[in-house]
Every structure is written in C-alpha cells, then in structure tokens.
C-alpha cells in the first residue's frame, strides 16, 4: 500500500472521528483499550470463531496483569463477541446461520433508517456530508489497491458509517446498530476479498451521493441493500 494512501486513510479516519463523535470512543480505560484491540483482531480476521483467547498471552502483549484483561473479556462477552466458559476460558464466539440471518436483517433496517435520516438532515451539516463523500471515494481507492491491509479498509469503512450515524442524529439508534455490527465483526474478514471490496466501495459512493442529494428514500434503499449484500456474500461463502 502506498505510504501516501495510508496517510490519507489515517487522516480521514481522524477527521471523521472528530466530526462524528460516534460511536462514542471506547472508555479511556485500560480494559476498554484492550477490548477494542481484541475486537479489531476478531474483525480483521486474526482471531476466528472458536479460537481461544488466552488471558496470559494478552496480558503479556500489553505488559499488564491479568485483571484488566479479564475485565476486557467481560466487556466483549457483554457485547457478544466472546464466550466465557468457566473451565475452558474465553473464546471467540461463532454465530449460527439463524443468528447471522436475524442480526443482518435487524442491521439492515436500522442502517437503512439511519441512512434515510442522514439524507433528510444532511443539509444542516454540509461539512460532514462533504467528509462522507471524501471518505467513500477514498474507500474506492483503498479497494483498488490489493495491498491495502484489511484493517485499514475496515477502519475507513467504520469512519464513514460513523459519519452517517452522526448525521442521522439518533444516537440511541446508532448504538443499537453499532452493537449488532460488533456482534457480526467476526464474519467480515472472511468476506472482504479484493473483489468484494471493490463492489462494496462502489455501493458506498452511490449511498453517499444519495445522502448529498438529500434523497432519503434512495438512501434508505441503498443502505438496506448494502447490508443485505453483505449477508448474501456471507451465505455464499458459508461463513460461520
């Protein structure tokens, strides 16, 4: 990945985070930081469904005691990413087909509504809308470069999502949506191959255009399709 593209991605994510202020940053505590790191490992595919998460190894990685790691695992358990079994310890939660189906359909409705709301309210915040489109086009370039690490693609996509959520103006709804997205985090890496990334990025551009045009109905439909396309892809690949 070219250094300048990487820098641009980082700059965009930083800008979007400031503009959006959502999702609320992970608690500035050690367990929160560890939990966010583990969630990334899961979402970026370094940890797969069923993989054990060894407290000691994580503690050593961060050079801390096991206490904060245990707290972090508890947070992830609460969010549905990690199972904690007394004897076997913690492991990455896998999802059944039914759960995946249910979660995606719920997400589709929530995200569709958020996109519609963003389109309807976009005129009030032209800065955020401009950033949104900048992000979508950046995503296309990231998708076109096969050397882009999945992590960079994901964080950029997340930042774009955060901007839409912020424009929508319903923080509670965004949190419910984000919680579902976190639950399916484990599925992403397996479906974000280069081909899929290109198609997905193109969809984001179309969506951002609808938001810019304040076309709420179109934005809703595109938002819904974006999520359901993801579901179709996961089913196609037989993801767990």
């Amino acid at each position: 990945m070219s250094p300048s593209l990487e820098l641009e991605a980082r700059a965009f994510v930083a800008t979007a985070t400031v503009l959006a202020q959502f999702p609320p940053a992970p608690p500035p505590t050690l367990p929160g930081h560890i939990a966010a790191w583990l969630a990334d490992r899961i979402q970026f595919g370094d940890l797969k469904p069923g993989d054990p998460i060894r407290e000691l190894a994580v503690a050593e990685h961060f050079d801390v005691s096991r206490g904060p790691v245990r707290d972090a695992l508890r947070m992830l358990n609460r969010d549905g990413l990690v199972d904690i079994n007394g004897r076997k310890g913690a492991s990455v939660r896998g999802l059944s087909e039914d759960e995946i189906d249910a979660l995606f359909r719920i997400r589709a409705e929530l995200f569709a509504r958020l996109c519609g709301l963003a389109a309807a309210r976009g005129e009030r915040e032209p800065g955020a809308v401009a950033a949104l489109c900048q992000g979508a086009h950046l995503l296309v370039r990231l998708a076109d470069d096969p050397a882009t690490p999945v992590g960079d693609y994901m964080t950029t996509r997340r930042a774009i999502s955060a901007l839409i959520a912020s424009l929508a103006g319903n923080l509670y709804m965004s949190q419910v949506s984000a919680a579902r997205e976190r639950e399916v985090a484990v599925l992403w890496a397996s479906v974000l191959n280069p081909e899929r990334r290109k198609r997905s990025a193109a969809s984001w551009v179309t969506l951002c255009q609808a938001v810019t045009d304040a076309d709420a109905a179109q934005a809703e439909q595109l938002g819904r399709d974006l999520v359901l396309d993801g579901l179709a892809e996961i089913k196609r690949r037989g993801g767990r």
Binding site: R78, R93, A102, R113, Y172
Partner: protein
C-alpha cells in the same frame, strides 16, 4: 436478568448476584432510584445484605441490560434521558416492532395479552415483566428471538426514563 444468552458465572443461591439483580432492577423501575442518580455498592450491600463484591457483580449484570451505566469516575448510576432519549428509543421501537409482528401469523391463536387489568393496580415492575414475557412469546412464535431481545432492552430503558411509557408499550402490543 441475563438476556443475552452468553455464559456468565451466576453465583445462584438466595443471596447471589443473579438473584439480587432482578430485585434491584424492579426497584429501579418502580422509581426507588430516580433516573440519573448514583447508586453505590454500599447501598446495594445494605439493601440486600450482600458483600461489596456481590454488589459489584450485580452492577455488571444490570449494566449488561443497560439499566445502569458504569463509569470509572462516577461509579454506577441509573440511566436517564441522556443515555436513552425517549424520542430516539421510541424511533427504534417503532422501527423494529413490525419485524416481530411480521413473522407471527395473527391467526395463530396468540391471544391478545391482558396487561394487569385495572390501570394503576399493577406495579410498574410487574407490568414490565408481562410486557417482556409477551415479547418473548412473540419472538419464539416468529422465530425472531433476537428482535424480541432487543425490543426487551428498549422496554426496560423506556420504563426507567419515561413515566407513562408502559401505557404506550402495552397499547402497541395489543394489536
């Protein structure tokens, strides 16, 4: 109440956190602790005759349901309309409830629930439990437990932050 189905480590027993949590939840819903106020481990220990450790565990359980928020600075506090702005929560409720009903065949014989009969006689905590039970039934009938679970959380939040929410929730469910 542990709604997410993941494996926690409930301590069981009459004094254990898993037994205390629903009782504390009821007190919150009844208004014994107002939205936004802090609640300390000491208060919980005194109320329920449990250790500080158990109280901490109770807080974790209630945080999982979203009834309280935990912060490093403030400790535990009951949620309020900043955490769960009623208009925003209702928007999610209105959006997701149809998903639940869509799967349920109205002719399936699911009788309309009667929520505690005469208004004002059933306690808020009891009314909330009936609402949650009905959502649960709808979820199982329509194989849509996830939606039911999410909606259940919403009802808890609404019951805490908005007086009168229970009336509207009951009305929405008696379609």
């Amino acid at each position: 109440m542990n709604r997410t189905g993941s494996v926690d480590q409930p301590e069981g027993g009459s004094g254990g956190p898993a037994a205390i949590a629903p009782n504390l939840r009821d007190l919150i819903v009844e208004g014994r602790f107002a939205p936004g106020v802090r609640i300390t481990e000491r208060e919980v220990s005194q109320l329920f005759g449990c250790s500080a450790g158990a109280a901490r565990e109770v807080f974790h359980l209630l945080e999982k349901d979203g009834a309280i928020v935990l912060s490093a600075r403030r400790g535990a506090s009951i949620i309020d309309s900043r955490n769960a702005p009623p208009a925003q929560v209702w928007a999610v409720w209105d959006l997701l409830l149809p998903l639940l009903f869509a799967e349920v065949d109205r002719k399936s014989g699911l009788t309309a629930p009667s929520f505690g009969g005469r208004a004002g006689q059933a306690s808020p905590a009891h009314r909330l439990r009936l609402i949650e039970a009905h959502l649960d039934r709808l979820g199982r009938l329509g194989h849509n437990s996830r939606v039911a679970e999410i909606l259940g959380r919403l009802t808890l939040h609404l019951a805490i932050v908005e007086p009168g929410a229970l009336d509207r929730l009951e009305k929405d469910l008696v379609r």
